[in-house]
Amino acid sequence: MAVATTSAKVKWGLLDAVVVVFALIPVLWIASLSFKTPATLTDGNFIPREWTFENYKLIFQTDQFVRALINSIGIALISTLIAVVLGTMAAYAISRLDFPGKQLLVGVSLLIAMFPQVSLVSPLFNIERNTGLFDTWPGLILPYITFALPLAIYTLSAFFKQIPWDLEKAAKMDGATQGEAFRKVIAPLAAPGVFTTAILVFIFCWNDFLFAISLTSTERSRTVPVALSFFTGASQFEDPTGAISAAAVVITIPIILFVLFFQKRIVAGLTSGAVKG
């Protein structure tokens, strides 16, 4: 309202600083732990007194972590790809087409967005054991897609609704079929929304712990969050804190990169999808 005065700027600057500090402390702390030597690990100091990369070398030498990292990346990427493709199709239909059963689909995906995931753990555990999906990539990808779909559908529908409806009519009047209208007019406009949705879905899959710990039992398909909780260090007697911290930092890096480069898109995706419902 008023012109930005210096005192107002200082006030907002201080508030900003509080937010930044609160948001970053736990991240910096775990990073700090990961750089500490075993000797200084338990000194309780926020900043390492001695710096080392030993923890990182260590975890990349263990099969346990490398396998888990591969699993995490592979499972999250495949789930994201499938969820976004299916979500795009459904969201396009929901926001652009008129057909019976649309309300039902919207309702169902809303229900699933609210679904307590633990309620699925017991039946899925048993079903997957019986079908051989237990402890495999598809065994995790399937529930990930399911729970990512509502997110994808809502976010994408919100993006699609921002595309002026007239454009599609115009394309039809210009001689395009429904399919051409989608490919040539809507898809290029929708691409940023699809990309944002992909980031959100990836973060969701990357984050999951409950399914990953319940539906896996070996390194074959264990993801990093689960591997972390099973970390014992190089030997039984070594304190795994340093290793866990290093691994934690490694899986945080992609998140930090996403947030740094795509902050605006993520904010837009989360706000539009959630409020417009």
Binding site: A23, I30, G44, V106, F115, P150, L228, V275
Partner: protein, 325 residues
């Protein structure tokens, strides 16, 4: 001022009315469909089918199967004793102190964290929306808790409070071990939840904040409203739908609390949530019957809460405004 602040609310009501009409359109019986309409319908079904099939196959069938399992005595350690026992598992669970303790813990965590998050989230939303300096920086920082893997954050908090290792260990009492005391452990769990999910709440609220027209706030301040009056009389009413959506989402999310507890206390000292004990019975105890019973009970709890939310707030719930073209 009160006049101007009611305008968006009434226009929202008008929106709701308008949207009621196309809703019926989907169910109409059409005598005659042109080629285009038929094609549109078919395409709609075709595009939605894969998503719908996956979602239903991975949730609806298992939840029914879960109900079926919950009616049986079914312990994978003693597979021969599998037997149909009707509702006796429910009796077992509902008369069990652990279940109710976990239920109480879950409710406590949910209520406290959601209330605190609403307040903090509103503050953060206002900062992110209106700050004059460093908007990008503050938004980027706030997204980190949202994006970070919960388990990672939980480990960070665990080590922070671990005696010897952590910078916070002696904060409450010298030589204490906060994670081994029930009260402080629950406090830390709630803190970890709040840290992780306040940004999400704030983002949802910020979307609502963006709906408040600047002119409205200007008009209110011209009318002599103080900052607090502008907030309560102008901003909150306009933001109401966004607030309700944020509350609904976060409440149902908080009820699922699992990761933080698993890492921070592993459920020791009666800090288990319902998700924790369901998981323990199922994966650790391999008792499918009891585990499934808990799954069904949790599902019902969530369903009831969601239902109450939607009933109380009616059209403000997400999804109710769908169906427009």
């Amino acid at each position: 001022m009160s006049v101007s602040s009611t305008t968006p609310a009434s226009s929202a009501a008008a929106d709701a009315e308008q949207q009621a009409i196309p809703k019926q359109r989907g169910r109409r019986k059409r005598v005659e469909l042109s080629e285009g309409k038929k094609q549109e319908r078919k395409l709609g079904w075709l595009l939605c089918a894969p998503a719908a099939i996956v979602m239903v196959a991975v949730t609806a069938y298992p939840i029914l199967y879960s109900f079926w399992l919950s009616l049986q005595r079914y312990d994978l350690k003693f597979p021969d004793e599998r037997e149909f026992v009707w509702f006796s598992n429910y009796v077992t669970v509902l008369t069990n102190g652990y279940w109710w303790t976990a239920f109480g813990v879950t409710m406590l965590i949910t209520v406290v964290s959601v209330v605190v998050e609403l307040v903090l989230g509103m503050g953060l939303a206002i900062i992110m929306h209106r700050t004059l300096v460093g908007r990008g920086l503050v938004r980027t920082s706030a997204l980190i808790p949202y994006g970070i893997v919960t388990v990672v954050a939980a480990f960070s908090w665990r080590y922070a409070w671990t005696p010897g290792t952590g910078y916070l260990a002696n904060l409450l009492a010298p030589d204490g071990a906060p994670l081994t005391e029930r009260a402080s452990a629950l406090g830390i769990i709630i803190l970890a939840e709040i840290w992780k999910t306040t940004p999400f709440m704030a983002l949802l609220l910020m979307a609502g904040l963006a709906l408040v027209p600047d002119d409205l706030l200007k008009a209110a301040s011209m009318d002599g409203a103080t900052w607090w009056q502008r907030f309560t009389k102008v901003m909150l009413p306009v933001m109401k739908p966004a607030i309700l959506v944020a509350l609904l989402f976060r409440t149902l999310d908080a009820l699922r609390v699992f990761d933080n507890i698993y890492v921070l206390t592993n459920g020791a000292n009666e800090t288990s949530s319902v998700s924790m004990i369901a998981y323990n019975n199922l994966i650790k105890g391999l008792n499918l019957g009891i585990g499934s019973t808990m799954s069904v009970l949790i599902f019902l709890t969530v369903a009831i809460i969601a239902f109450v939310f939607v009933k109380l707030f009616g059209t403000a719930a997400p999804g109710s405004d769908e169906g427009k073209r």
